[in-house]
Symmetry: C2
Amino acid sequence: MTVADVTTQDRYPTRRGTESAFIERTDPVVWSGVRAGPATRTDLAAHEAKGFHTVPGLLSPAEVQKYWQELDRLTKDPEVRADERTVVEKDSGQVRSLFEVHRTSELIAELVRDPRVLDRARQILGSEVYVHQSRINYMPGFKGSGFYWHSDFETWHAEDGLPAPRAVSLSVALTDNYPFNGGLMVMPGAHRTYVSCVGRTPGENYKSSLKEQKVGVPGEDDITRLGYEHGIEQFTGYAGSALWFDSNTMHGSGNNITPFPRSNIFIVFNSVRNAPVAPFAADRPRPSFVAARDPSAVVR
Amino acid sequence: MTVADVTTQDRYPTRRGTESAFIERTDPVVWSGVRAGPATRTDLAAHEAKGFHTVPGLLSPAEVQKYWQELDRLTKDPEVRADERTVVEKDSGQVRSLFEVHRTSELIAELVRDPRVLDRARQILGSEVYVHQSRINYMPGFKGSGFYWHSDFETWHAEDGLPAPRAVSLSVALTDNYPFNGGLMVMPGAHRTYVSCVGRTPGENYKSSLKEQKVGVPGEDDITRLGYEHGIEQFTGYAGSALWFDSNTMHGSGNNITPFPRSNIFIVFNSVRNAPVAPFAADRPRPSFVAARDPSAVVR
């Protein structure tokens, strides 16, 4: 397939000029093909309608403790801190994210292969899956800055070349998520609308966009329209709770001035039938530790 | 009373050096003396124990609409915008607060005299009361920056000379307060602990502190200790709901990246038996539009 072919077939154009646009999603949210798995019909119906669903207590308190110690170990390791896959907080210099943790931590690799996780991803995407991105996020108390509203798929399409929103994200809380310590906000139902964003992707955009995204974010008028149409829900719950959300979910988070830190494991599964092609709105793909390029690296 | 006398009698010292301290409150929270009024025994018990209580639906939807229109009228008035009693948002230039509104708006003056409001303030403070400060706050969507943790009494004591925490604040929501659009966070029970803060008060501190407070805020260690001891509650509810909170309540608010603005009327009642003296930790008192100095201006 040539670049021209891909461009012709781009059903989700973005970053092409100065006008934003709402594009109706034509792809399914829950894909048919895999029936058996841990997700109930209610789970899948919620995922289809709202773009997300929760699994309270996916991890037991003992498992949470195990992963928390793993995070602690990793953030204290000087080699990990110096690794290009580690992102530090813009203002405080604290570790904010560790990328590709399913390759650097055997514990996270186990979690990815856990049937509670992997089989649910296969049910939602209706096929075999692989890990497009994995990371552990750490938002400290007091200084945790939030993330403005965005759709992950917009970036994964523009910069990584995922053709369709046939990907699903899993966020597992490692700390209690209150409504007031910077938890994820989502707009239920907005996953059916693709917001084509203004601007052009700068070179090596990922180096700054992983800290604060400036291109590929909708304007305030678009967020206002979506916000008043769909409302906002927050992902709250005890440590160990999980949120599964569609790749085109409109989401963001406020800052955290409480003393309570917020930490989570984040795994993105992509369908092997949605393998990345050339980026749709960037000169070259992002590095593979941010966005895997080899779908043959199937999880099992 | 000389300055020396006042200093000797200062039971709430603050801004004296480089060490912070926790001082146990010796004054009552709900003062005896006035029995009759709209506050139930349950309301007053909650106020005593937690330092605050709520009154859902204090204003009817029609009243909310009336006050909202008043805010709209005031913020569009060029004279009001240019008034020194108007505070504009640091980054966006939008109107953030209008001070002394009970003198500039007849509608707010009526609210202050309303028995639903005035008589509850008298019950809590156990005496006649007057307005120490009044304002309307407007936190726009997207760009609303929050307020770091602080006790109002610390400032009113240090900069305005209120001898004791015999003051109570009323916040009336003019917009629906969600958990995610920058609503007030409070630490229940922390009103019994006075945090003596480090630093010295700069001259004309109020000009910057009304936008972002830098002196008179507790350190992160102190907030962590209070946060883990008392936990955090948020003031949420439909427009028209009210929060009454003690002057020494530890409170703060996060930023607001949602499209939903947040607006409220804020009235501080002080007991006429707690009249301001010379500031306890500032060269001169703040202007009277921020902190009234004449307790004989009783409300009725």
